[in-house]
Amino acid sequence: MLIRWKLSLCCMASIVFIAAANAAAIENQECMECHNDSSLTRQESEGMRQELYLDYEKFKYSVHNVNGIGCTDCHTAIDSLDYDKEMPHSVALAAPRCYDCHEVEGEAYRNSVHFKAASKGVSIPCYACHGYHYVTRLEGNNVLERENHFCLKCHDPGKFHDWLPQKETHFAHVECTVCHAPDAPRHINLTFFNLMNNKYLSTKELLAGLNTTLDRFMTVVDGDHNGIIDVQELEDMVLLLRQKGIRGTFHGELLSEVEPVVHHVNRGKAKRQCETCHMPTSPFFESVAIMLDRGDGTLQHNLVERNVLATYYVNHFYALSGTRVRVLDMVGIIMVLAGIGIVALHLSFRIVASLSGKGRRGRSTKHSGH
């Protein structure tokens, strides 16, 4: 009897505790009761109005919401909502401290011109670049998407790269941080461009073309199973796609890896030596991959040998000198050597003919002298 009573007391206590905990945690939907109003704004002291509306449909797919991070996990100053008041929470809220969770990124950011700008009175918080609520995974974004979401929000690269030959081409195929955050590792991402409809082949279309699945992609493509796609294997892959009526070529982009060190953008530290990239031995071409979308925003890196870049299968990515087609140089050397050979041969015959002519003339003069 005593045991049963104790058990009941314990259950009741648990229920009360869970109910209390639920009451304390503020659900996203509670916030959205007010913040789904698109006209909701706040009057800033400078006379500016700050929008307080949140598009939940977009927020739903943000990396934070996907990982179960709710509104008050970042807006920690709000620990309760008082619905009796016109404003259920305090108006003046401290800015979210991203580096409480993103410690390594926060530390890396300290070594950047953007952080150091604070000493000149310009504060550039994380969300100035990353945005507020709709942060998604960057890995799958191409150069233009990455630049548009970040650097181009504030910078106009066209104004500062007059020294750079082919600057527009560089902007289109090389992510800013490749040169401006030289500490960050980088890779070449190869994407198949379908010439039949002038569109990039999506992961789904590529896998359908090869009649395989994401898990079996390397098993199908990497014939020798050494974990890296070589020139022959890439050629076979292109032929397989051609059999399915998909004709095209690979386009390439030079991207930074999404790692904390990519924040290390500093004044005067950008690479300005063309030779860094435009060399066949450049470390910038060490990592080449075909990235396939797993469907959850993450990518599967499928390694490709770097000498693939120097073939006609990667027809729209060419770094002068760096990824040149070597066989052309063999043809060129033969052409130049042939020219030198013709000259040398003809000159030799001329010299021999001239000497023998002189000999004949000499002999005939001597003979007539007699």
Binding site: W163, P165, Q166, E168, T169, A172, T249, Q273, C274, E275, H278, M279, P280, T281, Y312, V314, N315, H316, F317, Y318, L320, S321, G322, R324, V325, L328, D329, V331, G332, M335, V336, A338, G339, I340, I342, V343, H346, L347, F349, R350, V352, A353, G357
Partner: protein, 207 residues
């Protein structure tokens, strides 16, 4: 004994065009070498090599304009066109001369005149160069100078590597041609006769 007669063969605009063309070609070949083999040659920084290559390329294009203006403006362009009726026998004679006759001190079957300064082989070579290889090199060079601006044309031609392939192969052709051309220019009545003529304008015609 054969006597020499001076004939005015190369008018001033042609001489100016020729030497400028030669100079720009050499600059383009040398800088091209640096651009293509950055891991082998280091006589120029790539950034400077690109600039020099671009300046020389545009100067060559402008100089080509001088050639077009002179030859088409004066109607002398016809000296580049071989007579199709006599082309084959004349070509055989000329090849026979270059490969055999010249070593036996036989006379050149082509008699140089102001109206007919090129032999058939020269006509064939120069017409290919001036109407095919040089324009192709200038156009591909222009495309490679601003890839983004000419993106549509580059795609139409099959991509950046295809355009580059044409440019590089013609580059090697010109590198080889210049060597052979400089040598063939020593085949006058004296080794420096044609060189002198290209400065003075006067060529000595031996009868």
């Amino acid at each position: 004994m054969a006597h020499a007669k001076s004939i005015y063969i190369h008018p001033a605009p042609v001489r100016v065009w020729h030497w400028l063309n030669a100079f720009f070609c050499v600059v383009l070949i040398v800088t091209g070498l640096q651009l293509r083999f950055a891991e082998v040659f280091t006589f120029l920084a790539l950034e400077d090599a690109v600039k020099l290559h671009n300046y020389a390329g545009f100067s060559l294009i402008a100089n080509y304009g001088l050639w077009v203006a002179f030859y088409f403006g004066t109607g002398r362009i016809r000296i580049y066109f071989p007579d199709p009726r006599t082309f084959v026998p004349m070509a055989i004679k000329q090849i026979r001369y270059y490969t055999m006759g010249i070593f036996r001190q036989e006379p050149n079957p082509h008699q140089i005149t102001a109206e007919n300064k090129f032999n058939v082989l020269q006509k064939q070579a120069y017409i290919s160069i001036m109407f095919l290889f040089l324009p192709a090199q200038m156009i591909t060079g222009l495309f490679l100078w601003r890839i983004k601006n000419f993106d549509q044309y580059i795609t139409l031609l099959g991509g950046i590597k295809i355009v580059d392939t044409f440019h590089v192969l013609i580059y090697y052709f010109f590198a080889s041609f210049i060597l052979v051309h400089a040598y063939l220019a020593t085949l006058g009545h004296s080794p420096l006769a044609h060189y002198k003529a290209m400065f003075t304008g006067y060529e000595e015609a031996h009868k």
